[in-house]
């Protein structure tokens, strides 16, 4: 094992918390993200992470709890996106873009105010890229509690939501309230994405939301199977990414470790690329 995992990995408290949080977030993101990919809402999923961070930075600048800031930011952002207009795909694209643009403007202001009021450095990079290794133990409990709530809510709306996502007209004809479901789902996605963004960074949050479900959807058709595969992909990327990042400290004489966010994202993208290639090879074989 020594050649594979450098000594002291599991006795490190930061690593253990990081792996725990990463695994929980990976599982919840895989479940929520499956619907994001099916509904074609990747842009909104990514934008909400940035919007939530804007809220987090705002509450930081004004002296409130960042957690409250991110919840308010994400929910307001999701509400605004739905309010601007969602009837057509192209309109939704613009609505997401306008909300995202406004939120980044506010981020610029808040980050400027933070640097005025404190001497701390690295806040911009930490907010954008995050680090699994900087998660504190109390945060872990909050993440766990909110994740359970999101899963419960998803279990309740999952079936009608899937129906509405696959064929909105048929669902509406059967009496499903499609617009209300869409709003519920966007709010749910906002909480998930905002939560993971503030804990592990906006980049990693989007990667875990879109990558594993997209890879799983390329490999299988059955919904329950896809859920399991997506969650497994997500957790595997987090685990291997943590180990690689920890080991990379010993790779260079300068002892500059690769950031854990980079390792996890690279693995997620690799999973997606491999799954796409497998899909392409198998479809070509079956059509030939």
């Amino acid at each position: 094992m020594h050649w594979l995992v450098e000594p002291g990995l599991w006795s490190n408290a930061a690593v253990r918390t990081g792996v725990g949080v990463g695994a929980v977030v990976a599982i919840v993101s895989a479940m929520v993200g499956l619907f994001t990919v099916i509904r074609g809402q990747s842009f909104a999923g990514h934008a909400l992470a940035d919007v939530a961070l804007s809220g987090g930075a705002g509450s930081n600048a004004l002296g409130f709890s960042p957690l409250a800031g991110f919840v308010v930011g994400a929910l307001v952002g999701a509400g605004a996106m739905e309010a601007v207009g969602v009837e057509r795909v192209r309109q939704r694209d613009v609505a997401t873009g306008v909300v995202l643009g406004a939120a980044t403007g506010l981020s610029a202001l808040f980050l400027y105010l933070i640097t005025l009021n404190s001497s701390s450095t690295g806040s911009t990079q930490l907010i954008l890229f995050g680090s699994l290794f900087s998660v504190s133990a109390p945060t872990f409990l909050v993440v766990l509690a909110l994740s359970v709530l999101v899963c419960l809510a998803l279990a309740v709306i999952g079936r009608p939501l899937l129906f509405a996502s696959l064929s909105s007209d048929a669902a509406a004809a059967r009496g499903v309230s499609v617009t209300r479901l869409a709003l519920c789902y966007t709010l749910l996605m906002a909480v998930t994405v905002g939560l993971s963004a503030i804990v592990i960074g906006a980049v990693l949050s989007t990667a875990l939301l879109i990558g594993p479900p997209a890879a799983a959807l390329r490999l299988g058709r059955r919904m329950s199977m896809t859920l399991v595969v997506a969650a497994t992909f997500g957790v595997a990327a987090v685990l291997v990414g943590v180990v690689v990042s920890y080991d990379s400290y010993y790779w260079w004489p300068s002892h500059r470790a690769l950031p854990v966010s980079f390792c996890v994202v690279a693995l997620v993208v690799a999973e997606f690329v491999v799954a796409s290639l497998v899909r392409r090879l198998t479809t070509r074989k079956s059509s030939a």
Binding site: F43, G105, L111, Q125, V268
Partner: protein, 263 residues
């Protein structure tokens, strides 16, 4: 406000805003906001990589923006939003790795993300103007096919327009335009200027060419007001660009709603 050290900011800002207004019009027409967001952010990672290797940031910016544009353009079709998301996170993660390996000074990173328009040097004016003219020319050449394939993709394909080639050409133009804009207004706000004013123009005017002109006017107006406000208040210019772009859109939206309810 118009003293000598501000001259560069006004010139470069105006050029960049005109280009963003023009490209943004097609971005809104074709529904490629996500790509317009992903490419500048990827370009930012390229600048970080260039700093690590020791070449000029503009080389890294252009390389990464072009690679991202090709990647996204090639995946055009169904599920292109997933491929865009994957390209975006991969490039940003690379940027994070470059930054932590090179230990760049944080204010430089902030400048790349949020822009430093008041620190534009005289030497950057010529390349920005030349490359902007190139992008404008490319857009003028592709004007009709781009609009045609956005309005009626099937019909355009039937008339012999290759959608992949067209998309690739547009993405490359977008990429080079973004690479220019990033050092001036920042990766995050290049995007605000590309979506807000053009979306507003599209709501207010029906005919495409008039909408394109209005979009450029609104973008330049937004940037001018932002630079002036930033100069007066000392707050970051990105804040004003981001918020004003959204305000322009919301005003246009309310105006059309009122107009429609009266009619």
């Amino acid at each position: 406000m118009f003293s000598s050290f501000m001259t560069n900011a006004w010139i470069v800002g105006t050029v960049v805003a005109l280009l963003a207004g023009a490209t943004g019009f097609f971005v809104v027409m074709r529904g490629s906001s996500f790509a317009a967001h992903a490419i500048p952010n990827g370009a930012f990672a390229g600048a970080a990589g260039a700093t690590l290797v020791g070449v000029t940031p503009l080389a890294g910016l252009v390389t990464f923006a072009v690679v991202a544009g090709i990647g996204i353009g090639a995946s055009r079709g169904r599920r292109s939003d997933v491929a865009t998301a994957m390209a975006l996170v991969m490039m940003l993660a690379l940027g994070a790795a470059f930054l932590s390996l090179s230990a760049a000074y944080e204010p430089q990173v902030d400048a790349l993300l949020f822009g430093e328009i008041l620190g534009v040097g005289t030497s950057s004016i010529t390349p920005v103007v030349i490359l902007s003219l190139g992008c404008a020319l490319a857009l003028a050449v592709m004007y009709r096919p781009l609009l045609f394939s956005a309005a009626a993709p099937d019909l355009a394909a039937a008339r012999g327009l290759n959608p992949t080639v067209l998309e690739m050409g547009f993405m490359l133009t977008l990429a080079i335009g973004s690479a220019l804009t990033v050092p001036v207004v920042g990766a995050l706000l290049t995007f605000s200027l590309t979506v807000g004013p053009p979306a507003a123009a599209r709501l207010l005017v029906r005919r495409p060419f008039q909408a394109l002109v209005l979009s450029m006017v609104l973008a330049v107006g937004t940037l001018w007001v932002s630079v002036a406000a930033s100069y007066q208040t000392n707050l970051p210019v990105g804040f004003f660009v981001g918020v004003l772009s959204a305000v322009v859109y919301v005003v246009a939206r309310v105006a059309t709603l009122l107009h429609r309810s009266r009619a």
